[in-house]
């Protein structure tokens, strides 16, 4: 399986994902971009920016483990995952993901599985920052973040 995992402060172009995941015998590609939403913070100020921090080397290691799980569940040819660290403004992309497979169901299923697992084990943490510079760490299953 062709894999590419990056944790970086440099944004990419979505075409890089498409080019990487489409191989000769690929019949389905699914591409996902995670975009920073203008959510409301607990103090009711609107999110202007999210700042991501993480442990890159361990994040890649966790992504490799997830890829092995995906291989045992879905028939896919390729996975691309690129997550930004640092500040990302509302409306900007923070994560680019792509999966290539022979069939649609495997591609959709694998990408969905990948994102679910990323949100469980990959050591990346986000802090919401408002225009007024208030800050709020997002902690799932602790402050009711969905």
């Amino acid at each position: 399986m062709r894999k590419h995992f990056t944790i970086s402060s440099t944004p990419i172009n979505i075409n890089e994902v498409k080019q990487f995941i489409q191989l000769e015998d690929t019949g389905a590609t699914v591409v996902f971009e995670g975009i920073v939403r203008p959510d409301q913070m607990p103090n009711e100020e609107a999110v202007a920016t999210i700042e991501y921090e993480g442990l890159s080397e361990m994040a890649i290691s966790e992504l490799e483990k997830i890829a092995l799980q995906i291989q045992s569940r879905y028939e896919i040819h390729s996975i691309y995952f690129h997550h930004l660290l640092g500040k990302v403004a509302v409306g900007q992309t923070a994560v680019w993901v792509g999966v290539g497979a022979r069939h649609r169901k495997d591609a959709f299923g694998a990408l969905d599985y990948l994102m679910d697992e990323v949100k469980k084990t990959v050591p990346i943490f986000k802090k919401e920052i408002s225009q007024q510079q208030s800050e709020h760490w997002v902690v799932p299953n602790y402050n009711n973040e969905k």
């Binding site: 995670g34 361990m58 949100k119 990346i124 943490f125």
Partner: protein, 74 residues
């Protein structure tokens, strides 16, 4: 080294922990309960050598550990 909300709760980017041997991840978690800014319900993962470690993991002198709240990437 604490990450995310733990960094703010502890008020520092790193700290040194002293404990009589043998010490485990469970002992470290117990010690962290003394910090009033850390919510008692906050799950804290302890990472060593790029992997999450269980309560029974023995912490030895000189180990660099990472303390992590629940992850929130993606």
């Amino acid at each position: 080294m604490p990450f995310g909300i733990l960094k703010d709760s502890l008020g520092q980017d790193w700290f040194q922990w002293e404990h009589e041997a043998p010490a485990t991840v469970k002992d470290l978690r117990e010690w962290l309960k003394q910090f009033p800014n850390i919510h008692p319900q906050l799950p804290i993962a302890v990472v060593f050598d790029q992997a999450y470690q269980p309560d029974s993991f023995e912490i030895k002198d000189g180990m660099q550990l990472y303390l992590m709240p629940p992850v929130s990437g993606g």
